[in-house]
Amino acid sequence: MAEERRLDGNAIGGVMIELFGVEMTTVPGSCGNCGAHEQMAETDVYLDAPGIVVRCRHCQNVLIRIVRGNGRTWLDLSGLSSLELPL
């Protein structure tokens, strides 16, 4: 059951477009813990927590946390060492 709660980065494509203004599922990012380099679609995503949690598929490190409430979004990217955004 709990395993079925694990989705992938496709599931937050819409939220990411709102935050970054560009299509993000193909954007590569590097894990700040293990260094794995994957497109955002290739991450583990948990949507049904109090916020959105994006984890590295290789080491489970939390890459991104997104909390939305009261007309604001809190975005924590501290688990990523880099994001390669298109110009």
Binding site: E4, R6, G13, G14, T25
Partner: protein, 227 residues
């Protein structure tokens, strides 16, 4: 919403007329946001079923403990409005480059794959492996039958119950089944796998075991709960 099509007892296609819709690519999804009178909102993602250029449609499966899908399948009717955001996604998108295509769908995971099939010009060979619980649960059955043969091969597997005389497969996807149906890895196919997390993991792991390059396998997982 401009119309609806009952696909199976649990699945419905909704035709949408989205103001300012910029067009989409096969495999993309959109987000639906519903708003109750007191301002309560719920938002979920649904794959686009239509090919680019056709009237926009999504196909939705009712999840029994869901919040948005029961409304879209049972309640919404022609003329109703709700917010949509999209198109969304660039990873799970088919760009036809002539390489053979292997599509693997579980349940309503067939929806984005159907958008790819509907947008194919027919010159690129496509194989679809489609897993459903019962024959009644097969979405787009007649259309798939009609389209098969024009560059498209369709392989069904029914995992829970098979009608008498069933000639398709009758088990969950495993490595032997993938080996029988998938293009040889040496043909360098493009692969798209969509379904529940468990389904996608099993299919992707099986294809890697068959020698497929993990980078050639595009995967999209949807939740079995909460929709």
């Amino acid at each position: 919403m401009t119309g609806a099509l009952e696909e199976t007892p649990r699945v419905r296609t909704l035709l949408l007329d989205a103001e300012g819709w910029p067009g989409h690519r096969p495999g993309q999804h959109l987000d639906v946001r519903l708003t109750a009178e007191d301002g309560y909102q719920a938002e979920r993602s649904y794959s686009i079923a239509s090919a680019p250029g056709e009237p926009l449609s999504i196909t939705v499966e009712r999840l029994e403990d869901g919040e948005v899908s029961p409304y879209l399948v049972d309640e919404a009717r022609e003329g109703d409005g709700f917010e949509v955001r999209g198109p969304i996604g660039g990873y799970f998108v088919w760009e036809d480059d002539g390489r053979p295509v292997f599509l693997v769908g579980g349940g309503s995971g067939v929806v984005p794959l159907m958008a790819m099939i509907r947008s194919s010009p027919g010159s690129t060979p496509i194989r679809l492996l489609y897993s459903s619980r019962t024959l009644e649960d097969v979405i787009y059955r007649e259309e798939l039958d009609a389209r098969a043969g024009h560059g498209l091969e369709v392989f069904h597997t029914l995992t829970r119950e098979q009608p008498s005389g069933w000639t398709g497969y009758s088990r969950r996807i495993d490595n032997d089944l993938l080996r029988e149906i998938a293009w040889p890895a040496s043909d360098d196919p493009q692969v798209f796998v969509c379904g529940s997390t468990r389904f996608v993991d099993a299919a992707a792991d099986g294809l890697v075991a068959l020698g497929y390059d993990p980078l050639s396998i595009k995967t999209e997982r949807f939740g079995a709960t909460g929709g």
